[in-house]
Symmetry: C2
Subunit: 528 residues, 2 copies
């Protein structure tokens, strides 16, 4: 992994991401600070996290005596993340954070995820909870945010239950009033880092039912603090997974556990979305980290591995073989596009918070909402696809554990599932961003000038209900293609090699994505 | 896994595969025999192999005291395969086989690979070696074929070396004459089941250099018998792989090992191709087995798992959700297309051997050579893609080891690498089938009437050298699309449900593949 190269590419890309200069002008950041932050992040990733990433997969998290035991090195990495101020990098200064942009946090985190994606889920959840509690926790929970930033406390997000996955309206975990507080009873599953000893207290940000109002209206959001050895929260099991072995995916039982209401009763899901949106961006960042690392490995291998050429002469580096060169260009093109897309979304999230005028904030928020399902899905696909293609460059070697690519592919497979499956993102994009609220689309079309896409989106909006879901997947691809077209020129300004790669590898792909969307629409109600 | 359903689909598909009725008319097989064979194969797969498949991944092969120890149950499964006559199913009766068609063997083997693909590599190599030795072994090696069929001996194929993977011309292992025989010295890697105790003797079918003639002209083919405890062949290590854990992938050292020449000196690679071609078909069959199993699991899960629907009513099976229904149709369509394609190729291989007239044999052989790289690649892609998509249907559950889908995805990742990477298949298809020898293309176009594809192929043949490799990948897809169009109607005759699936899911995809190929050609020399 070429850490210096990754830092350089990210710094250059930030500089040309629309809105970044605006953030600089607003005093949120400057290029020198960004460079120093990425340099420090790269050092942490290379020196501290990369060894942890390797141990993480081999050892995995396990359960002993009813508690999770994490792989070697997680404790040291957690301390280093906290001491370096990384958990609070983009949290407000008034609650103990560094107050830097989400975009810079994303750039730093992609380096961490290139090294140790399973470990990264722990500080990632603490940071997201910090944002949630800074926004909705109020006075009663004010002590939590600095404690999360300093690593003295950890956090999780608890939504799913055995009978309620994507269908959150069926959540059955109940919260009942108990004096000034609440008590929560029920079972939650798929809880990343639901138990561990990185910190003595874990705050579970948990959705529970507080009324019999159907669907999501009866749901409220709670903070359930858990300490090992205390009653109320117990570990049922951890999942045996394909990858992310170092990240314990817990099933937890809450048995009258003490809880504090976060924000307003009955507004649980809406409030939690502040955290969910950040975790969706984080999924894109994880995809970026995995893609960056895999592309680097494939490029370095192809320069070193010698095969073929004139039989009478020594073999040549396989990077010079036309088909390998083509594969390397694809890897790099997809990785750089994802970098551009992730930073784009992150900067819009920053502007939606920091712009002085309401109109500018509203426009940035609408564009961010529009881009979110595209970037989450593209990040999930690219994070899987680039390691997959990198394995092919290495051939048989790539299929062995001598190289981390097979681990990356296993780690990446979940990205299209958690934080809302690709199918959920497609529904979000089609139903909410193209039909119900077209503000983000309007902003996007105005900024991107993607006329073909605007036409398609209109057709989807006008399509009968039955055809709409069928078209969603295809339109997401077309949407992504339009975003890509918008990004490609920018990359040219930063990184001539990558731009050349994009110019060669991608144009016909854009046309095909649009053709696919068109064909799906023309085919009429495929789904019924 | 719905074993009865898989048998029924395969039997029906064989019946409508072009050439199958011709094979019946030639007395090679009849539908009753085929039904009985598939029924027995399904029982073996369900009762004996499925439990072995599970143990295979968990335990994996390991090395103890310099030798491979196989997972629990492999010995019993090997004995059952041999006793049931499965290793020799399509080997000639005069050497102890059952003399049935390759196509029926493929149909049976896909059931075995649905259950235990890692184990299946052992009987698969014995069978392929049986074909090689029946064709080129001569009198001196005549005892080998019945011994392979009865399971008393096993076999491997030894080609790759540390410095010679796809680039076989750089093979450095040397064979020198020693009295009437030969002795072989060198190192071979990526040897599936290179060491085990399923049989007391393993015959290594090995390419070695017998002259300094450059490239592949100096290579000859040998049979190197190895017995545990005897000098000459030793195990260096087994690879730690992403999947196929039960299949020991060995690095072997040959140190003056006794060897017998197979066939003619200097014709090693050409002769070995009889075995390699069967192992490429076998890769397509493995892909089919994995796809069949994964599609079945996803369909069954989606009928049972309940989520969503009217919040006031009980949740509904997710198979009824439009986006899940779309995913299931994709799974099934891809699986059935692969089944049709694998059987198509296998029947042509049969006709190339069995047709009474030379002209008919020649035509079948040309078509088989044309289809081989397409089916190998499509099998590798589909065998990976269907488990990948099936995981998405199961969501978080699919990412856990509670279901075999993640194991299937890991097992499948190597299909695009071994037996010639997809890149090698693309070169084979473009250089050999579209440019150097267009006979298979002519047969295909005459039979399939795929005019669009014929035009494309002509353009590739006429394209400058620099553009040809760039177009190969796209043209393979277009070739596949054309084959698919040809197959789709046939499926309608067999399996109305699958045909409906194909009708809905695939037409626009064909158009896109053709468009992609066209775009690649229009883009000119992308690779330089």
């Amino acid at each position: 992994m070429d850490w210096a190269g990754a830092e350089r590419r990210s710094l250059a890309m930030l500089g040309v991401t629309p809105g970044w200069q605006r953030l600089c002008a607003l005093g949120a950041v400057d290029d020198e600070t960004a460079g120093a932050v990425l340099d420090a992040a790269g050092r942490l990733a290379a020196e501290m996290l990369a060894p942890v990433g390797e141990a993480s997969d081999r050892e995995g998290a396990r359960v002993e005596g009813g508690h999770v035991v994490l792989p070697e090195g997680f404790g040291g990495a957690w301390a280093a993340m906290a001491e370096g101020g990384w958990i609070g990098l983009d949290l407000p200064e008034e609650v103990g954070g560094a107050g830097l942009p989400v975009a810079l946090q994303a750039a730093a985190e992609s380096l961490f995820d290139a090294a140790a994606p399973a470990f990264g889920m722990a500080p990632g959840a603490a940071r997201s909870a910090g944002h949630l509690l800074a926004a909705h926790g109020g006075e009663a929970l004010a002590e939590w945010v600095p404690a999360l930033i300093s690593g003295e406390r950890a956090a999780t997000i608890c939504i799913s239950e055995p009978g309620a996955g994507s269908d959150v309206g069926r959540i059955a975990t109940k919260a009942v009033r108990d004096g000034d507080g609440w008590r929560v009873t029920g079972q939650k599953i798929w809880i990343s880092f639901g138990d561990h000893d990185l910190a003595p207290v874990i705050g579970h940000c948990l959705l529970a039912r507080t009324s019999e109002a159907p669907g999501t209206r009866g749901l409220s959001l709670f903070l359930v603090p858990a300490r090992r050895g205390e009653a109320g929260v117990s570990l049922l099991r951890i999942e045996e997974k394909m990858g992310l072995h170092g990240s314990p995916t817990c099933a937890l039982a809450f048995d009258g556990a003490e809880a504090q209401l976060i924000g307003e009763e009955g507004r649980g899901l809406a409030q939690l979305f502040a955290m969910i949106e950040l975790m969706r961006l984080q999924t894109g960042v994880q995809g970026l980290g995995l893609a960056m690392a895999a592309a680097d490995i494939a490029e370095a291998y192809a320069e070193e591995r010698r095969q073929g050429g004139d039989p009478a002469a020594p073999p040549v580096p396989i990077a010079g073989h036309p088909d390998v060169a083509r594969q390397l260009r694809e890897l790099r093109a997809r990785t750089e596009l994802l970098r551009a897309a992730v930073f784009e979304l992150a900067v819009q999230i920053d502007l939606a918070q920091r712009a002085p005028e309401a109109a500018e904030r509203e426009e940035a928020a609408a564009l961010a909402a529009f881009l979110m399902p595209l970037v989450k899905t593209f990040g999930a696909e690219t994070g899987f696809d680039v390691p997959h293609r990198a394995i092919q460059v290495l051939g048989g070697a790539g299929y062995t554990r001598d190289w981390p690519l097979e681990r990356m592919l296993r780690d990446a497979r979940v990205l299209a599932i958690y934080e809302g499956t690709s199918g959920m993102q497609a529904i979000d994009f089609t139903e909410r961003r193209l039909v119900r609220d077209r503000r983000g689309l309007d902003v996007f079309v105005a900024q991107a000038g993607a006329e073909a896409f605007a036409g398609l989106a209109g057709e989807v909006a006008a399509a009968p209900e039955a055809a709409r879901l069928a078209a969603a997947d295809a339109v997401m691809r077309a949407g992504w293609a339009a975003v890509t077209g918008w990004l490609a020129e920018r990359i040219a300004a930063v990184d001539p090699a990558s731009a050349e790669t994009l110019r060669r590898a991608l144009p016909q792909r854009f046309a095909l994505h649009a053709a696919e969307a068109r064909a799906a629409l023309d085919a009429g109600p495929v789904i019924d």
